[in-house]
Amino acid sequence: MQAVSSESSSLVHEPTPVGALDFTRDPDHYHHWQLRLDGAVAWLGLRVAEHATIGEGYELKLNSYDLGVDIELHDAVQRLRFEHPEVGCVVIHSLHERVFCAGANIKMLGRATHAHKVNFCKFTNETRNGIENASACSGQTYLCAVKGSCAGGGYELALACDEIILADDGASSVSLPELPLLAVLPGTGGLTRLVDKRRVRRDRADFFCTIEEGLRGERAVSWGLVDSIAPASRFDGAVAQRARELGDDTRRPLAGSGVHLPPIARRFSADSVHYDHLDVLIDRDNGHATFVIKGPQVALPENSESIVAAGTRFWPLAVMRDLDDAILHLRFNETSVGSWIFKTLGDPELVLAADALLARHAEHWFVREVLLFTERVLKRLDVSARSLIAALEPGSCFAGTLFELALACDQSYMLLGQFEDDETPPAAVALSEHNFGRYRMVNGISRLEARFLDDAQTLQVLATRQGDLLAAQDAEQAGLVTFIPDDIDWHDELRIVLEARAGFSPDALSGMEANLRFPGPETMESKIFSRLSAWQNWIFQRPNAVGDKGALVLYGSGERAQFHKQRV
């Protein structure tokens, strides 16, 4: 294989091509959020700039949001975890006088293509899951201070927080008016979190979701829709006090500097995107893209101080940031590229060494964040509506954390032996302890557990083989790869699977893949992506929502939706 470049980057950050969505944000230039740091408490205030939209034809009134608002939120949540380890509590609040948040902008949704709606919802769901993950795993607890009306997506954002304080002023309310008002669902986790997280009794939840105006005051507390109420005159004080309490109770360092997240170095060309640790090569004619992920090139720092000092140059973080950016870019900007092929390049032993290093320092706040971030990136891959194919070739490094990529794929192909006229030794895969529960899927189990569902014996055997480099036949025998063609069949096998994939209905493929990827248990997260999103995406296609006389389309015109009364 070719020699690879050194760790230092030759790339600089480049914006996405004109017309493409860019997920890069700079907190000094947020349009919609204001981040204020006060010791252990971070105040994340929402004041949506009505005209700073990412699309045409709508204004973001009443603190309603579009994808642009949520990309900033995602950026802020991410930065708080890495850049501000001293923060133990994040308060989400509104800087709008009368409204907390009116949810996703309806005019925007009414005009959006189906694909954009689905991608938008998926991203917003991922961001909210990330918020919960920060509360649960990073010791950064989210507190939501609701003053003014908090409707739809606004309440869903509140639901993603650990605690909700509602102003008891006779006007502030929480509501999920999607069904009565728009003929769609509170699809950003709303329905699921209501019953699964907040344990609102299902009959009450049913009632709550059928009334436009929602509930306020004591009843909102007694039904479990919020945690507490505070009179308007004492509201700010009550929020500040609770924020201090939550901020003090933290597993994070009380002082010390965080790790700055600079914009990701990358370069776009017509058919490729290049990162320091990843190249994405797009074959538009055949509708697929190849991700080539590069393993560590140099020895990694050994102690936690030097790991923190390396910051975003630390390979385990750097490679995942590249991958995350590429996934989002392709999801939103390359919707016709239906299959993603995953390849790796590097030394599997170095990846195992990196995993061992991470495991040794897993309790260190920064390493913990790297591991949690890796988990989230892999989840993002799991729920991407693309066919995922792993191609394990000589020179690859599908070991430990990077083997998770192969496990995430719908099918994996490992070359048996070597390519003709190529000295590169045959491919080998290896497991590390990280494959056994470190990176949970949205359904709460590891990819190996999902692969060998309820098969403890196999998992035990595999656990004993951690660190072993397994050649193709061993890997197949162990059930770790799907097929092991030799070099005579290799190109044809891959071509056929990709051509077949390209020939099928993309909708049916997305549906099939999403069903087969998550065997086993359900969690709140998995239900949001499976049950809630699936129903929502069905409703998003139905005339009652998006037909000429559909509620989503007519919303704001004053005209009334006309429903087909047939129950399907």
Partner: protein
């Protein structure tokens, strides 16, 4: 042990209250709470005095205005719906136009209808609370009596809305009815719903301005609810309008008498310095007009409103005198001209009529306000004084809608924030104006006498003389 209250006697009504067990039970629980509210937050100090009040005991000509001395807590707050004069009454607008009006709340509109009723209902006790200390500075007995008349009738309007909530909205309606007594004007924790109803009414000039401008908003809201497809609401509001007219009359004649007094002094003493003679000068009046007009125009809501459009399409709330408007009453694809702010300028634009319902009602309201201002100006002109009161531009001093971010002079010129801060007290009452007006507020209780700053009315109440004992103050 107290005996069972006979609500049909206690509460004059034309809804056959005696036969409605559910409603009776709900009122039994609410009535003591209302009385507690009235005694605690209603008019201060004069609750044990006999006041010459008008009571409605039925909706016909003979019954709606019966005069007599009564202590306010013994006032007979009644529940009245305007007579159903139309056989086979039909819905006049929206998607259901031409269908029979509803006698019951349709399930799908229960939420929005309740919200409309609660929002309207909340203003009624709010204004009583706002005005509770005014009697202490009443400029005459007849004015004090007028204040109390307005107060008991606002409280009756509360009853009207509470009746609708209790009769048609089940448990939620009963809870809302209780909440109407729990919110408090100007309270930091439980404020009234609408901004103007949390402002103080500190003096009698403000009271007259309030009843002229803010109660007139009430007239337009009630008039558009009187078009509702939900017939009990429509008929309730129709009857309330007859009383609302009296409140606006108190406001219009009150301001007119202040003008009258100022003009008399100016003419008699050939001076502009009416303050020297203990009256209120016309420029100060203009500032009060500017303030109360702008605060009241906010009550009509945002210029473009999906909610208002939905209410119209659903048949819940129509336009002012809907049946007299010459169009299809559905407003599909119809234009309406509104003033908007665009590229640094106020410009007129054509937008969808359906989402401009609020603005249309505001237009009707402004035209109505102007008519009274014209009558005031006639008093000034007849006195031979060269001064004209004007309504400020609708973009002036707004807190709601597209103009709320702008600074606009009363004549409609856009200015920057700095100039606004520097000059706003040329247009709005400032601390010294409030202080001056406050200094005039001295109670006058001798029958037939009036404070220095206000002329007597031309007529007494119900053809009684001006020195009639409108309140019996002696024990």
């Amino acid at each position: 042990m107290t005996g069972e209250v006979n609500y049909s006697d206690l509460i004059p009504n034309n809804i056959d209250l005696g036969a409605d067990r559910r409603l009776k039970r709900a009122l039994e629980s609410w009535h003591p709470k209302f009385m507690h509210w009235w005694k605690t937050y209603g008019p201060d100090e004069y609750q044990d005095k006999e006041v010459y009040l008008r009571t409605a005991v039925s909706v016909d000509k003979a019954g709606w205005a019966q005069f007599g001395h009564v202590k306010m807590p013994d006032y007979r707050w009644g529940i009245f719906l305007a007579d159903n004069t139309q056989q086979d009454k039909r819905i006049g607008f929206g998607d259901h136009k031409g269908e029979k009006v509803w006698q019951d709340v349709p399930g799908e509109f229960r939420g929005p209808l309740r919200r409309l009723i609660v929002t309207q209902g909340d203003t009624e006790p709010a204004s009583v609370e706002q005005q509770r200390i005014l009697a202490a500075t009443a400029p005459s007995l007849v004015d004090m009596r007028n204040l109390f008349q307005v107060n008991v009738e606002e409280a009756r309007h509360l009853w009207a809305m509470v009746y609708l909530l209790m009769a048609h909205f089940g448990r939620d309606g009963r809870e809302e009815a209780e909440d109407l007594l729990k919110r408090r004007s100007g309270d930091a924790d439980k404020p009234r719903i609408l901004g103007a109803f949390n402002e103080a009414t500190p003096d009698w000039l403000s009271f007259f301005m309030f009843t002229y401008f803010t109660d007139r908003d009430g007239k337009y809201q009630l008039a558009s609810l009187a078009e509702s497809a939900f017939d009990p609401l429509a008929r309730t509001c129709q009857f309330m309008l007859t009383e609302e007219a009296h409140h606006m009359y108190v406001g219009e004649t009150g301001v007119a008498r202040v003008i009258q007094k100022a003009c008399e002094i100016m003419r008699e003493h050939r001076t502009d310095d009416v303050r020297h003679y203990g009256a209120i000068d016309l420029p100060t009046l203009q500032k009060y007009v500017n303030f109360h007009f702008s605060v009241s125009t906010d009550l009509f809501g945002a210029e473009q409103s999906t909610n208002a459009a939905n209410y119209f399409t659903q048949g819940l709330k129509g336009r002012y005198q809907e049946s007299r408007i010459d169009d299809d009453h559905q407003l599909k694809d119809q234009p309406y001209r509104v003033i908007q702010f665009d590229a640094g300028q106020l410009v007129e634009r054509e937008v969808a009529a359906l989402t401009s319902i609020n603005e249309r009602l505001r237009d009707d309201y402004i035209a109505d306000c102007q008519r009274g201002v014209d009558r005031w100006n006639k008093i000034i002109a007849e006195a031979g004084i060269d001064f004209v009161l004007t309504l400020p531009h609708r973009a002036f001093h707004r807190q709601i809608g597209i103009f709320s971010d702008l600074h606009v002079t009363p004549s409609g010129a856009l200015i920057d924030a700095e100039r606004w801060a520097r000059e706003c007290h040329q247009w709005l009452p400032g601390p010294s104006d409030h202080e001056y007006v406050k200094s005039l507020m001295q109670q006058v209780t001798e029958p037939g006498k009036f404070a220095s700053w206000i002329a007597p009315p031309r007529l007494g109440i119900n053809n009684q003389p001006l020195d009639f004992a409108y309140l019996k103050l002696a024990h």
